[in-house]
C-alpha cells in the first residue's frame, strides 16, 4: 500500500481520528490505539470548571505517538479561526491546523468564503492548512492554489452518521485527485464500510470521530475503521474489475456433466 504524504510528512495511517465525545480519557486512549491512527485532532477551549470535554488533553495522550492536529472548531468567521489557529499552534507547537469556519449550528456546514480568507492568511503565516469544506471541487482547487496541504470534503453533516451522502461529488474529487492535494474525507460517517467506500473512490484518507466515540464499543469500532480504511485503499490500488451489463459465469461453461436432454429422469 502506498504511503500518504502530507506537506512532506510521511504518515503511517490513512485514518485520522478525533478525540471528541469519549466517555473518558481511558476509553479514548484505548480507541486511538486500536484505530492505528497517527493524526489526531483536538480543539482549543477556555479552561473552565465543569464544562463537558473540558479536561486538559495535552497531558492525557502520549504525543510522541501521535501527530496532533489542532482544529479551529467554534470559529464562525475567518477572524475567529485565525485566533484559534494561532492559539492551537502556541499550545501544541504544531504548524498543522484543521481549518473549520462554521457559522451554521444546525448542519455545521463550513463557510467557503471565510474558510478561503482564513486559509490565505494562515498559509502566509507558515501554517500547514487542512481546510474542512463542503464537497465543492471548485473551492478545493482554489484552496489548493493558495497552498493548502489537503482538502477535507464532508461526506455528510458532522456527527450525523448519515454516511457517504455526497458520494457523487466525492467521485468528482477522486477523478481530479491528480491536480488536488491529498483528499481527506471528513465527517458524517457511521459504518466502516462507508470509510472503505470513500477510500475505494480514491480518497487519500478519512477522518472519523463520532462514529467511533459513540459506537457501543468504541475500541472495536476504532479497529474496524482502521481495517476498513486499509482495505479500501488496498482495493483502490488493486483496481476493480470492469463492470458488465450481463452476468459472466465464473465456472467453465464446457464439460458440465449434465444428462442428455433425451435421457429420462
Amino acid at each position: 500500500m502506498s504511503e500518504l504524504v502530507i506537506a512532506g510528512q510521511r504518515l503511517n495511517s490513512r485514518l485520522f481520528v478525533g478525540t471528541g465525545k469519549y466517555r473518558d480519557f481511558a476509553l479514548m486512549r484505548e480507541a486511538l490505539e486500536a484505530s492505528g491512527a497517527e493524526v489526531v485532532t483536538v480543539s482549543v477551549r477556555r479552561v473552565e470548571v465543569g464544562a463537558a470535554g473540558h479536561q486538559g488533553l495535552l497531558e492525557a495522550l502520549d504525543w510522541r505517538r501521535y501527530r496532533v492536529l489542532p482544529n479551529t472548531a467554534g470559529a464562525r468567521t475567518a477572524i475567529e479561526a485565525l485566533r484559534l489557529a494561532r492559539l492551537g499552534r502556541a499550545l501544541t507547537g504544531s504548524e498543522w491546523v484543521k481549518l473549520e469556519v462554521i457559522p451554521d449550528p444546525t448542519y455545521l456546514l463550513p463557510d467557503p468564503l471565510e474558510t478561503y480568507r482564513a486559509a490565505e492568511v494562515l498559509v502566509q503565516e507558515g501554517f500547514t492548512v487542512l481546510p474542512y469544506i463542503a464537497p465543492d471541487p471548485v473551492l478545493a482547487h482554489k484552496l489548493a492554489r493558495l497552498g493548502c496541504a489537503t482538502v477535507m470534503p464532508l461526506a455528510a453533516p458532522i456527527g450525523s452518521g448519515q454516511g457517504l451522502k455526497n458520494r457523487a461529488m466525492l467521485e468528482i474529487f477522486a477523478r481530479q485527485r491528480a491536480v488536488l492535494p491529498p483528499v481527506v474525507v471528513d465527517a458524517g460517517l457511521r459504518w466502516p464500510s462507508e470509510a472503505a467506500g470513500a477510500m475505494e473512490l480514491g480518497a487519500d484518507a478519512v477522518l472519523v470521530n463520532t462514529a467511533i466515540a459513540e459506537a457501543q464499543d468504541p475500541v472495536a469500532m476504532a479497529a474496524a475503521f482502521g481495517q476498513a480504511v486499509r482495505a479500501g485503499r488496498m482495493a483502490y490500488e488493486a483496481g476493480p474489475m470492469p463492470e458488465r451489463a450481463f452476468a459472466s459465469p465464473s465456472s467453465p461453461t464446457q464439460g458440465v456433466p449434465l444428462p442428455q436432454p433425451e435421457e429420462p429422469l
Partner: protein, 68 residues
C-alpha cells in the same frame, strides 16, 4: 474590570501570573498545558509578561481539549 475567559472580574493591578495560576489551580491544569492571550498577544509555558493588568484588558486562558 478585567475580562478573564469571558467574565468580568475585578483584577486590575493583579499580575497575569496570579490570574492564570488561579484559573489553572481551580481546574487542576498545569501552567505548562495552557496558552494565554492578553488582548491580542499570545504567551505560553509560564512566560507571560509581568505588567499589572489594567481595566479593559482581555485575558483568555486556553488549553487543548477534546475535538474532532
Amino acid at each position: 474590570m478585567v475580562w478573564i475567559n469571558g467574565k468580568a472580574v475585578e483584577a486590575e493591578g493583579k499580575s497575569l501570573s496570579e490570574v492564570v495560576e488561579a484559573v489553572c489551580g481551580q481546574r487542576g491544569i498545569s501552567l505548562e498545558a495552557v496558552a494565554v492571550m492578553l488582548n491580542d498577544e499570545i504567551w505560553v509555558k509560564g512566560r507571560w509578561p509581568a505588567r499589572p493588568l489594567a481595566a479593559g484588558d482581555v485575558v483568555e486562558v486556553v488549553a487543548v481539549m477534546q475535538g474532532g
